[in-house]
């Protein structure tokens, strides 16, 4: 047992924090919310130059060959600084799915381009009418026609589909014996004829899109994993996504605590810094405690995932716990800042809104708790 960051991880943390503070100040994060693309291609290239997209991609595919846990260290720094853009959906959703389930050809084609910042990927799972991340919601049809599958249907809340080059899309290829059976995954060229994309206005302006597929032809060789057996791959993507989102969230929690403590030391009322009042001190102490517990729960889940240990329960616990507590900590942060905290120009609201967005991604609290309920042995 050694529950500290390795020297390498510490360096990554520090350098990522420094880079993001300089290159993506919060004013920039807010600007990007109003931006049509929702990310900065210039910054994206600089990040690629640092090797971030390839951090956990094997060296043979031009990556750095570091671990999933290392990647979560970077994601925490990104969450701490609210970096908008397609990093997580490209790297966690895209690259890892291909590393785990891709053919040699798919790997050779896509992984180096991801590592070099040349390809943006995302995952298309949810559909209108489905509110949770289970297999029953997958109804988009894929029908075999010659060398292609033809996809028809609609996906919603597809992250950064407006700028994506490829989407990993879950489609139904047969009516199976269960909801999980008969789902196949396809690597779809996001610019293929028949695809139309519209950004859904959301609380964090994070470019979640509605994507319509009208007879979109996808070459058979672009199937990811086996025919009809795509659901376990999607589950694996969702599990990693849940950890990644939780890692970003604990970064945001720490930023919210830091901001609030700094403000309360600085803001003077009744002739003293308001941070001297115990009514506020104890709230901040609780914010810090909850951030601590959240972090180590997430670190443990990330470590297990990274080690390849079964951790569906631990991940669901981390996501459920962080969902609730990121919202709570940011709500307290806005409150303790008073009027200024509620303004568009202030950073606390940025985190507060992100906490809501993070909550629904990869399964909300009720969804995660039901997973936990099963794992702790409650019969269903």
């Amino acid at each position: 047992m050694d529950i500290t960051f390795t020297e390498e991880q510490e360096m990554l943390r520090k350098s990522a924090g420094d880079f993001l503070t300089a290159e993506c100040p919060k004013t920039k994060a807010r600007e990007l919310e109003e931006d049509e693309k929702g990310y900065s291609p210039e910054l994206w290239q600089k990040m690629a130059g640092l090797g971030w997209m390839g951090l956990a991609i094997p060296e043979e595919y031009e990556g750095m060959g570091m671990t999933f846990q290392d990647l979560t260290v970077l994601l925490e720094a990104m969450g701490n600084n609210v970096l908008p853009g397609p990093f997580s959906c490209t790297v966690v959703g895209g690259a890892f799915a291909i590393i785990e389930a891709g053919t040699a050809e798919q790997k050779k084609d896509l992984l180096p381009r991801i590592a070099n910042g040349e390809a943006i990927l995302t995952t298309a799972l949810l559909e209108p009418g489905s509110t949770c991340y289970d297999a029953s919601g997958v109804n988009l049809k894929a029908t075999a026609q010659g060398d292609n599958f033809v996809l028809s249907g609609t996906k919603v809340f597809v992250e950064m589909a407006n700028v994506a080059d490829y989407m990993i899309c879950a489609a139904r290829t047969k009516e199976g014996s269960s909801d999980e059976d008969g789902i196949s995954l396809f690597i779809v060229d996001a610019k293929a004829p028949g695809i139309s994309c519209e950004v859904i206005p959301t609380i964090a302006f994070d470019k979640l899109c509605e994507v319509r597929f009208e007879n979109v032809a996808v070459p058979k060789k672009n199937m990811l994993g086996e025919m009809d057996k795509g659901w376990p791959i999607m589950q694996s993507i969702m599990q990693k996504g849940a950890i990644a989102k939780s890692a970003e969230s604990v970064g945001g929690m720490q930023a919210s605590v830091d901001m609030t403590v700094a403000y309360c030391k600085d803001r003077v009322q009744y002739d003293r810094p308001i941070g001297a009042f115990q009514a506020l001190q104890h709230i901040m102490a609780d914010m810090w405690i909850i951030t601590q517990t959240s972090k180590y729960l997430v670190y443990q889940a990330a470590w297990m995932e990274s080690e390849g240990l079964p951790c569906a329960m631990e991940v669901a616990m981390a996501k459920a716990y962080v969902n609730e507590n990121y919202k709570w900590v940011t709500e307290r942060a806005v409150s303790l800042h008073g009027g200024i905290g509620t303004s568009r120009e202030h950073d606390t609201g940025l985190y507060y809104r992100r906490a809501k967005a993070a909550d629904t991604a990869f399964g909300d609290t009720d969804f995660q708790r039901e997973l936990v309920a099963k794992k702790i042995g409650l019969i269903s």
């Binding site: 529950i3 810094p273 001297a276 001190q281 102490a285 180590y296």
Partner: protein
């Protein structure tokens, strides 16, 4: 970052669990927690019996220096508290083994150590703490029990309160004021040891809200204590109390106890049918138990981080405050959840109507022990605010 226990640790941990599992079979009915040790004669006898079993294995001296019969590291101590916590087994005197022994190792003279450590190691002498006073609780340094030196003795007069188990303990470690004129209240306090049978010591019960006898008030009237029983230096007792670094602070005992509670509630919900359906299928129950499990695993992850930090001497006091506050308050919520899941039976005391021998009814009340003792959780939040977050102290 690596959460993995070594194979050797896994094996060792298992041994602690095996022994405690056996001891748990001899548990008097309705026994639980600290009140279980001190309230009834059966509970006290069970506490002493378990202590003997542990002593034989050298488990009351975990982490001690070898010359005093010590073995193992803080990790052993952690596994031990996990095992006793999970099985709700007593035998480790929190005052003698957990508090006094590390304090003596850190601050006491050879003579004191040679005289007092062996009977802690053998589990024969049980201790109590005489610190709080009616007007010195959270503000402990305001204590006023006086000790006036007369030759080779101190003559002690005053009143102590909230003294857990003082009616059963053999010996006491006390804080007394030896210099009433010191310029700071923390100065002029002395830490000393005496036999609870010393003439002038009167112990009166303060019953807990559930009627159990856990706490006492202790009157000290011309109690004569040899000067050689001082730990550290005269007037330097406050410093002696601050040697917390050596204490095991993870709260993993309480945390493992809650793991057991969740397991039992899960079993209960699986087996109990309401209108022909297991309680476990009720979505509200599922959600609430799952939430409790998430909170518990969060506490557990942080506790391991505290252990890890402590084992490399990198733990700050406010780190330990975080896990104390969180796990203590979680125990209160867990007890509430337990009583609520049991419906009207949640309020039933140990009796033929009771479920789990009245465990949750008892902890609905006893969880305050975790949150008031050893520095209230409000004081812990001050510690975090001032020393962890650097917030200003109101003058």
């Amino acid at each position: 970052m690596d959460f993995k226990l070594t194979d050797e640790h896994v094996k060792l941990r298992k041994e602690f669990f095996n022994v405690c599992e056996e001891l748990a079979k001899k548990r008097p009915e309705g026994f639980t927690g600290l009140e279980g040790c001190y309230d009834t004669d059966e509970g006290w006898a069970y506490h002493l019996d378990c202590a003997k079993v542990f002593a034989k294995r050298g488990w009351l001296t975990l982490g001690w220096p070898e010359e005093y019969g010590g073995q193992g590291t803080i990790m052993d101590k952690v596994f031990m508290s996990e095992a006793t916590g999970y099985y709700d087994v007593p035998g480790v005197d929190i005052f003698g083994v957990d508090m006094l022994a590390p304090t003596l190792h850190a601050t006491a003279s050879q003579e004191i150590k040679r005289e007092f450590l062996p009977s802690i190691a053998s589990g024969e002498r049980m201790w109590c703490e005489l610190w709080s006073e009616p007007n010195a609780g959270s503000d402990l340094a305001a204590l006023s029990t006086s000790a006036v030196r007369q030759g080779d003795e101190y003559v002690i007069n005053g009143q102590k309160i909230w003294s857990t188990g003082a009616h059963r303990a053999h010996w006491a470690f006390a804080l007394v004021r030896t210099d009433p004129n010191a310029d700071r209240k923390q100065k002029g306090i002395t830490f000393l040891l005496f036999d609870m049978k010393t003439p002038g010591v009167t112990v009166n019960p303060i019953l807990y809200m559930d009627g159990g006898h856990l706490y006492n008030e202790v009157f000290l009237d011309d109690v004569r204590v040899p000067v050689k029983n001082v730990v550290g230096e005269e007037n330097q007792g406050w410093g002696v109390t601050q040697t917390l670094a050596a204490f095991e602070r993870s709260n993993l005992g309480a945390i493992m106890g809650m793991h057991r509670q969740i397991e039992e509630l899960v079993n209960y919900c699986n087996e109990t049918k309401v209108k022909g359906e297991p309680l476990a299928k009720n979505p509200l129950i599922r959600s609430r138990l799952a939430k409790a499990a998430c909170d518990l695993w969060a506490a557990h992850a942080l506790a391991y981080r505290i252990v890890d930090a402590q084992s490399r001497n990198e733990m700050a006091a406010f780190d330990a405050s975080a896990v104390k506050v969180f796990s203590g308050e979680l125990q209160a919520r867990m007890a509430q959840l337990g009583t609520e899941i049991l419906g009207p039976y949640g309020q039933v005391k140990h009796s033929r109507w009771a479920l789990f021998e009245g465990f949750f009814e008892k902890w609905y009340q006893q969880s305050f022990i975790l949150n008031v003792a050893m520095g209230t959780n409000e004081i812990q939040r001050n510690i975090i605010s001032w020393y962890g977050l650097g917030l200003p102290r109101m003058k």
